[in-house]
Symmetry: C2
Subunit: 254 residues, 2 copies
C-alpha cells in the first residue's frame, strides 16, 4: 500500500525517468561472512580484529559493502576470495539470514546479509591482510567461553545462527564433505560430524550409513592414499534421505 505501488498508470519509460531514488533514507547494504572450517579438530570461524571505530578492538565477521550492480551472492563470493584467497569452488556458500536492527551499526542504518561458508582448512592460504595480526581463526568454544573476546555489532547472534545452521545442515545434506579436501577417509568424515555435533559416533554404524546413501561418497581407487586407508571423494548427492539422526546434543534429557 505504498505510494510507489499505487502510482497512476503512465508509460513505463517516462515513469522511470521521473523516478527519484534519492528521496529514501540512506541505507547501506553489506554482506557479512560466517566462514566455518575445522581447525585442529575444532569448529572455527574467521574473524577480524577491528582497528577503527566503532567497536575498536572487538572481533568482527569479515564483510563489506555490496557494490553498485553487484548481486548479493556475488558480493559474498568476492569477499570470500578477498579474505581468504580460497578457490571459490571448493567452499560452500549459502545465504544465512539478514540482520537489520536499526542501531546495529552506530554510523548509519546498515542492513547486513549474512552468508554462511563451509571450507576445508587445507585450502585456505594464510590471510594476508593489511595487518596480518588482525585476522585469525577462532574456535567457536573459545569465542563463547567465559574469557572470550568482545564481538562487534550483532555478530554474536550471527555466529550463533551460523553454527546452529551448520549443525542442522549436515543432518540432511552432504555438506560435511565441504570441510574436507578432495579425498578423505571415512574416519575423517566421521570426525567432521563428531566435531560439529560435539559427540562420538560409532565408526561401524557411521560408515554403513554413509556408504548406504547413494552418491554421498565415492570410493577413490583401491586403497590409495593417506595411511593406506581407503580414500573417498564427494559424490553427486546433495541430500541425505533419510537424514542422519543427530543424537541428543549433550547429555540425556532428564
Amino acid at each position: 500500500m505504498t505510494g510507489a505501488r499505487k502510482k497512476t498508470a503512465a508509460g513505463e519509460a517516462e515513469f522511470l525517468a521521473s523516478y527519484d531514488p534519492t528521496r529514501f533514507d540512506p541505507v547501506a547494504v553489506t554482506v557479512d561472512l560466517a566462514l566455518l572450517t575445522i581447525l585442529d579438530g575444532r569448529l572455527s570461524i574467521l574473524l577480524i580484529e577491528r582497528g577503527g571505530h566503532p567497536y575498536k578492538g572487538a572481533w568482527a565477521l569479515p564483510g563489506g559493502f555490496v557494490n553498485r550492480d553487484e548481486d548479493l551472492d556475488t558480493a559474498a563470493r568476492r569477499e570470500l576470495v578477498e579474505e581468504t584467497n580460497v578457490t571459490v569452488d571448493v567452499a560452500h556458500v549459502e545465504q544465512l539470514r539478514t540482520y537489520g536492527t536499526p542501531d546495529r551499526d552506530p554510523r548509519m542504518r546498515v542492513v547486513s546479509v549474512a552468508y554462511l561458508c563451509f571450507m576445508p582448512m587445507t585450502e585456505t592460504r594464510p590471510v594476508a591482510g593489511d595487518d596480518a595480526a588482525t585476522v585469525r581463526w577462532w574456535a567457536i568454544d573459545d569465542l563463547f567461553a567465559e574469557d572470550g573476546p568482545d564481538l562487534a555489532f550483532d555478530h554474536t547472534q550471527v555466529i550463533q545462527d551460523a553454527v546452529e545452521r551448520c549443525r542442522s545442515k549436515i543432518e540432511y545434506t552432504t555438506l560435511a564433505t565441504s570441510f574436507l579436501g578432495a579425498t578423505f577417509t571415512l574416519g575423517e568424515l566421521r570426525r567432521v560430524y563428531e566435531t560439529v555435533w560435539d559427540l562420538k559416533l560409532d565408526p561401524g554404524n557411521f560408515g554403513r550409513k554413509v556408504r548406504s546413501i547413494e552418491g554421498f561418497v565415492i570410493a577413490d581407487g583401491p586403497t590409495s592414499g593417506r595411511g593406506h586407508r581407503p580414500l573417498y571423494r564427494s559424490g553427486p548427492a546433495s541430500e541425505i534421505m533419510p537424514p542422519f539422526k543427530r543424537p541428543n546434543p549433550e547429555g540425556s534429557p532428564a
Copy 2:
C-alpha cells in the same frame, strides 16, 4: 577490507560526527510478504495486482519500504497487519531470505527481505485496500498453471522458495497448526499436511504420530465442538522429533 573498517583510530564520537552516509549508492530496503493460508482445501497466497508501473497488471507480493528506525521483523509485522487486518499473534512470521539482484526492480536498487507467514483463513478479515478488486488469494496451483497470471519482479522465485520452505517446515516443526484456528480436529490437522504435501496420509497412523509427540496437540475438553469430533488445541512443542517422514512427493521413484 573496506576503507570504513580500516579507518585510523580516533575518538568514537568525533569519528561518528565526521561520518558521511550519503556517499553510498542509493539502495532501498523493502520487506515482501509471502502470506500462506489454506483456502478451500488449497494452499494459497495473498497477491496484489499492480496498478502502476513497473509490472503494471502483474501480480505481486504485498510489501513495502522499511521505515527509518524500524526493525526488519517489525516492518514485516506492520505490513501483515496493514494487508490483512490479521491479529498478528495468530500468524507465524519468519524471515525467508533476501533478494537483491541489481536489476530486480527497474526503478532503482532494491534489496528485499522476504518474510514467510502462515495463517488460518478464518482469522483473515477481507482485505480492504484502496481498490478492493486488486487483492486476492491465489491457489499456488493456479498461480503456476499453464494459464497462470504474470508475476511481478522476481516474485515467482520468492513464492517458490516460500512454498518449498513451508513444505519442509511442517516436517520438523508444529507449524502446521498455524493454518488452523484455536481448536481443530485431528482430521483438520491431517488435511493441512495433505494439502501442503499434495498427498494422502493414513488417518490412523497420522493420529498416532501426532498424539505421540509430547506437546504437539492438547485435547480440548471432552469431545466439545465441531461435529462432536474430539477437539484439540496447539500445544507448547515447536519441534517434532523425530520429524514427519514426508512420503516421496508425487509418484514413486523410477
